[in-house]
């Protein structure tokens, strides 16, 4: 069947956005986290917004089943937020759960069923012991063939990818370290981030603590020196080390979507959904080339077609840096850089906040944190703020921002969601 460029029956806009603080909060459950994001989203609408205005909830959540022994989060959340009897749908596509939930919210409005929809994402991860977190994340790969047989972990899969990428393109672990350094620099400007420190600040704090305890403090010259030291940056899944990996995080995010007509009731400057694309991929061993994510290439092409633009027109992007290598590959698969040039581009500052193509101004999954089910809509919260000029200290400056792109990856590329937002009408 020839692929047609889909045309939605109605345009959809974002009229509100909110984020909980990201981090580790032993006393907070998913309900508490989502409420935080929800309150901020309601308060963010230019002309006000009340719970009664919302007609449905689409909730991205990876596995409250395994993290909190709680399924059926949809109505549980609808009840907690005061939304009953509005319909509530839990969507699960691993770390892309809320990217996919957002897309279903867009389609639900386009279909004519609803005018105003709440989309959210939430994950409560930090109460499990770390090996159980490893097990739980690994269930997002093929748990029979990849996990039980091949003993792949989530970092392990990206370690395998990194081994192939570094070999093929002659890139080095240092290129990847530069991605982490950049994302921490951005995260340091994001009050909602899990890590609000640069890697240099983390290094200095660690040395200070060791000295205070009377222990011999390592003589780290700079961040790169720190990142090469296994005491500061141990290997997790070779060649990936601790600072190549996003952390385990509790957090939630919310967006309020409205049809183009309804959006005017809530916002002076709605941000429009220019494209929403989604593709599925197979097990890692089925990839024809370990250095490019097949489903992401498909989703990216569909997104650009739907928006009617080229990669060059994207002003900034939030990409799914669950691991540093994932950000590098995403910037290639999204067409920002040619295959094999993403690592060098990052190392040279092309994706820095003040560079020509800012990537992960929020701090990314690496520094902002990665509450997996909340990440997809969390990325869109950042784009919404940036496109409206409301990103505070980390606002991209010196140019008019028109198009922002978010790339949300589920598992190891099994789910790829690409969303393009546009400031102003088309």
């Amino acid at each position: 069947m020839a692929s047609r460029v889909p045309r939605l029956a109605r345009n959809v806009a974002i009229v509100g956005a909110g984020l909980s603080k990201f981090g580790a909060f032993p006393q907070k459950t998913s309900r508490d986290l989502l409420f935080e994001a929800f309150s901020e989203a309601l308060g963010s609408a230019d002309k006000g917004l009340a719970a009664e205005d919302l007609e449905a909830l689409y909730l991205g959540n990876f596995s409250s089943d395994l993290f909190e022994q709680q399924t059926h989060m949809g109505p549980l959340m609808a009840e907690w937020l005061g939304l009953l009897p509005k319909p509530s749908v839990r969507v699960e596509d691993a770390c892309a759960s809320s990217g996919v939930a957002f897309r279903q919210g867009v389609l639900a409005i386009a279909s004519g069923m609803y005018d105003v929809v709440l989309v959210g994402g939430v994950e409560k991860m930090t109460n499990l012991p770390s090996e159980r977190v490893t097990d739980t994340l690994a269930t997002a790969s093929d748990s029979v063939f990849e996990f039980q047989h091949a003993a792949f972990t989530f970092p392990g899969v990206f370690g395998i990818i990194a081994s192939a990428y570094l070999e093929r393109y002659g890139a080095t672990p240092e290129h990847l370290m530069r991605v982490a350094i950049k994302n921490h620099q951005n995260g340091a400007l994001n009050p909602k981030a899990q890590f609000t420190s640069t890697i240099r600040e983390i290094m200095e704090a660690r040395a200070r603590r060791l000295r205070e305890r009377g222990e011999a403090a390592p003589d780290w010259k700079d961040e790169m020196d720190f990142l090469h030291d296994p005491r500061g940056n141990p290997v997790v899944a070779w060649p990936l080390r601790l600072f190549d990996c996003s952390p385990v995080t509790d957090g939630a995010s919310c967006l309020v979507l409205a049809s183009e007509d309804a959006a005017r009731n809530f916002s002076d400057r709605p941000v429009y959904v220019a494209a929403t694309a989604h593709a599925s991929g197979g097990a890692l061993a089925s990839w024809p080339d370990l250095t490019s994510t097949p489903a992401l290439r498909v989703a990216a092409r569909q997104a650009y077609e739907m928006a009617g633009i080229t990669p060059e027109q994207i002003d900034l992007a939030e990409v799914h840096d669950c691991f540093t290598i994932a950000e590098v590959m995403a910037t290639e698969d999204l067409g920002f850089f040619r295959p094999g040039e993403g690592a060098l581009a990052a190392a040279e500052g092309l994706t820095a906040r003040d560079g020509p193509r800012p990537v992960n101004t929020s701090g990314g999954l690496k520094a902002k944190g990665h509450p997996v089910g909340a990440t997809g809509t969390g990325q869109l919260v950042e784009l919404w703020k940036q496109l409206r000029g409301e990103a505070g200290q980390r606002q991209v400056k010196g140019r008019q921002l028109r198009y922002g792109l978010a790339e949300n990856l589920g598992g190891t590329g099994g789910t790829c969601v690409v969303t393009i937002l546009r400031q102003g009408q088309s």
């Binding site: 770390s130 090996e131 159980r132 490893t134 097990d135 690994a138 029979v144 063939f145 990849e146 996990f147 039980q148 047989h149 091949a150 003993a151 792949f152 972990t153 970092p155 392990g156 899969v157 370690g159 395998i160 990818i161 990194a162 081994s163 192939a164 070999e167 141990p234 290997v235 997790v236 899944a237 070779w238 060649p239 990936l240 197979g282 097990a283 890692l284 061993a285 089925s286 990839w287 370990l290």
Partner: protein, 147 residues
């Protein structure tokens, strides 16, 4: 014995391994091979699938040494000071397969080279008190009389 229908089910891969066989499905229409066997050809969507035993010979396409193992590998004694290797092997018949790697130095992953010739080994293991064979690959010994 497996019936034809069962041969393309999820449990088949383990049953073949228990017989020390590495088996692919083979599409009757486009002849594409896949491991583990599956009921639908990803290439042409055909549902007439046959089986083909593979040689178990291949080359290393990507790998990692895991220092933060999941529970089942912790139980096998792996961990921070005892990492294990796993990766993707490109089989000489074409398909790729995910599998553990043995006979290579997991504590010196920088010495492991992509492209290394490998051969399948069927390792006896145990999971939840039950015996089962796990697929792994080890460096191939160079066949005699060949360059």
């Amino acid at each position: 014995m497996t019936t034809t229908e069962e041969a393309f089910g999820v449990a088949a891969f383990q049953r073949f391994l228990d017989q020390r066989r590495l088996v692919a499905s083979r599409c009757a229409h486009c002849r594409a091979l896949y491991v583990p066997p599956r009921p639908v050809c990803p290439q042409c969507h055909g549902m007439e699938m046959g089986l083909q035993d593979l040689s178990g010979r291949g080359r290393l396409a990507g790998f990692t040494a895991i220092s933060v193992p999941p529970s089942h590998m912790l139980q096998e004694g792996f961990g921070r000071d005892n990492p294990y290797l796993t990766g993707v092997v490109a089989l000489e018949e074409g398909p790729r397969v995910a599998a553990r790697l043995v006979g290579l130095e997991a504590s010196s992953p920088e010495k492991v080279k992509l492209g290394t010739r490998l051969t399948a080994v069927f390792q006896e293991g145990e999971r939840d008190g039950q015996k089962r064979v796990v697929l792994a690959f080890q460096p191939a010994t160079r066949p005699k009389g060949r360059g």
